[in-house]
């Protein structure tokens, strides 16, 4: 009997040795004459357990965590093909608390399915969403997405249904779907995990978006830092095309749709939607003034849906299972789930998909297990490099867009970066300004020049030069940047800076004065 052995083909798993483990399993199995089918799935998202290997028999999957190449021989000796006992054995995958306690909705196939198998995809609900869309008709699709309450997962949280309605209603001979896979925020990797673990899920989401608004062409703007993702996407798109899920008259629906992958080139601001459109047109990624909205005049001047990877992938399941199911999760105006990403100084980093409403503390303690170093949590940055640093006292804030806005913070793309008490928050504040200076598109002065001045000011404060005066200047500069910048790059860089200053004033005094 062939035993199925799962080893993720995924960037994080590979970064800690999964490729070598896969090779070794194949080699040892062959030597021993065991018949093994190596299945390359995505990661379940328990990154701290990678490389995580699973064996499947009798309809259950047994997981082994942190498997090294050196473990492979002993795993075979321990009879792991039949779920044998071994010090790396974690038990049934479905019972790992980190996974069991999630609300897997958008990521439900991620880890479970073989990433590049259309058959596996189909057998787990794949393409049921686009079939439901074809049956319902475009107008009804937009209605259902609106009813689900889904808001954009790329950062700004704009209602997806409303955006689609605008594009659908705008008359044009050519429209586009532009999937934002730039994922530039530090501490985020959910787009990548989805594209690597469930690439057909993204393709399906883009098909639905295209069908709903009347677009025949889609682009995936993928950051160049994700070469493995690119290979997987290219393969998936070719497979979907071969099977008639892309191209003309898809599945006799009369609907035509094609997808191209375009690479970014290492620019953070190209994740901003209008800069991304410029970049997709082959130009410098300079932010455009709005109006016009991309929904009215976007890529090459045509009406364009710009959505994040996770937004698009969520839609497929909303169509398959119904908007009410989705809207039944979450709190207030933050409906459904978000794939939170725990990283930095945390014991159990990874992806945690949960309904909105739990607190940061629950995520960091219950899922994350506290810091990796075992020291106290001092600061947590949520929402990427433009997100505020939260203090320990703010960790009971529920994760919901409005509750975060109320404390001057943002959830953004769901990245949660934990720092222990060895952090120097003045250094972090200075980095926020430096990063803005490096990545500014240069269109507005407060962002381009202000960020450089900001970095200099913080440097002076840190060395104790007229601390109070320079601090007042810094706050003034933050106000100018916030109010006079065209986009959130310059407009929100003040958030991490001001929050660091507010919660950790002692860090902004020269070392001699005693920093904790």
């Amino acid at each position: 009997m062939t035993v199925r052995v799962y080893v993720p083909r995924e960037t994080t798993a590979a970064s800690v040795g999964a490729e070598a483990v896969a090779l070794e399993i194949a080699r040892v199995a062959k030597r021993r004459g065991d018949i093994v089918r190596l299945v390359r799935n995505g990661s379940w998202g328990a990154s701290w357990l990678e490389p995580m290997v699973e064996v499947e028999f009798d309809d259950q999957r047994i997981a082994y965590g942190n498997v090294d190449v050196e473990d492979v021989d002993s795993l075979f000796d321990a009879g792991f093909l039949a779920g044998g006992e071994h010090q790396k054995r974690l038990g049934p995958t479905a019972e790992i608390p980190y996974l069991r306690n999630q609300d897997r909705w958008t990521f439900f196939r991620c880890g479970l399915a073989e990433s590049l198998s259309l058959e596996d995809f189909r057998s787990r609900g794949g393409f049921a969403g686009i079939e439901a869309a074809f049956a319902a008709g475009s107008d009804e699709v937009v209605d259902r997405v609106t009813e689900s309450g889904l808001r954009g997962r790329g950062g700004a949280g704009f209602p997806t249904g409303i955006k689609w309605r605008t594009v659908a209603k705008t008359e044009a001979s050519q429209k586009y779907v532009a999937c934002n896979a730039d994922e530039g925020d530090s501490g985020t990797f959910s787009d990548r995990m989805l594209m690597e673990g469930d690439p057909f899920g993204l393709i399906e989401g883009m098909l639905i978006a295209g069908f709903a608004v009347g677009a025949s062409k889609g682009y995936i703007y993928l950051r160049s830092e994700y070469p493995m993702t690119q290979r997987i996407l290219d393969k998936a798109i070719a497979m979907a095309r071969d099977a008639g899920w892309l191209g003309n008259n898809i599945r006799e629906s009369g609907f035509d749709f094609e997808i191209d992958v375009h690479l970014g080139a290492g620019s953070y601001v190209c994740g901003e939607e209008t800069a991304m459109l410029e970049s997709l047109e082959g130009k410098r990624g300079i932010v455009r003034s709005k109006p016009p909205l991309p929904a009215i005049s976007g890529l090459f001047g045509a009406p364009t849906v710009v959505n994040n990877v996770v937004t698009l992938a969520s839609v497929a399941n909303i169509l398959r299972l119904g908007p009410d199911r989705y809207a039944g999760l979450g709190v207030g105006r933050s409906l459904g789930t978000l794939a939170f990403q725990l990283s930095g100084n945390v014991k159990r980093g990874g992806l945690v998909e949960k309904a909105f409403g739990l607190t940061l503390r629950q995520l960091i303690d219950d899922f994350g297990g506290g810091t990796a170093t075992g020291r106290p949590v001092a600061a947590v940055q949520v929402g990427g490099p433009l997100g505020a640093y939260l203090s320990e006292a703010q960790l009971d804030t529920p994760l919901d867009y409005e509750a975060f806005a109320d404390i001057g913070a943002l959830i953004g793309h769901g990245g949660i970066v934990v720092f222990d008490d060895s952090v120097d928050m003045a250094e972090q504040a200075q980095f926020a300004m430096e990063f803005c200076a490096i990545e500014s598109c240069g269109k507005c002065t407060p962002c381009r020049i202000g960020s450089q001045r900001g970095s200099e000011l913080i440097s002076k404060i840190r060395s104790g030069e007229n601390g109070a005066d320079h601090e007042a200047l810094l706050l003034e500069l933050c106000d100018t940047m916030e109010h006079a910048s065209l986009c959130a790059m310059g407009g929100m860089t003040p958030y991490p800076v001001r929050s660091a200053l507010q919660h950790f004033p002692q860090h902004f005094r020269p070392r001699a004065e005693g920093k904790t």
Binding site: T12, S186, G344, V417
Partner: protein, 153 residues
């Protein structure tokens, strides 16, 4: 640019149908093939796409990925973003500079050491990329081991 390289370069441009909107994509092709975008390359691309040299140069200089100088034989990128900072990327960078004998942003014949802002490997920080491959949980010792094994390859 040697005639041979020129032929390869023209082939790269034409593989994108010489469409101006494919400029960034074809520049990636140049970096993959030659490691950098030379002045000659800028001139050739401008001619082939029928756009101004300033336009091509503008794009090349805007994006971090497009270097204009010959890189070292190996390109090592160390993530400098927040999740990696929280796990000691600043120390790791110092270690790498010492171990490799080049500073961040600098090139030797053997190595170019570059910053990168997030590799999406934040849950296994700190992260580095060596010749296009991403590695995680990179302690100083692991860095040395990776350098030894990857640079042989």
């Amino acid at each position: 640019m040697s005639p041979q390289d020129r032929e390869i370069a023209v082939a790269i441009i034409r593989s994108f149908d010489a469409r101006p909107e494919m400029l960034i994509q074809l520049l990636h092709g140049f970096v993959d093939k030659f490691g950098f975008v030379s002045n000659d390359a800028v001139r050739l691309i401008a001619d082939e796409l029928n756009v101004s040299r300033a336009d091509v140069h503008g794009v090349v200089s805007y994006y971090h990925d497009f270097r204009t100088e010959i890189p070292g034989r190996h390109v090592v990128k160390i993530c400098q973003a927040e999740a990696c900072q929280a796990m000691g990327s600043r120390k790791l960078t110092e270690h790498a500079e010492q171990r490799l004998g080049v500073e961040l942003h600098q090139d030797s014949e053997a190595i170019s050491l570059e910053p990168v802002y997030c590799l999406g490997n934040c849950a296994c920080a700190p992260a580095v990329m060596i010749d296009g491959k991403t590695w995680g949980r990179v302690t100083s010792d692991r860095f040395d081991a990776l350098i030894a094994s990857e640079m042989d390859a």
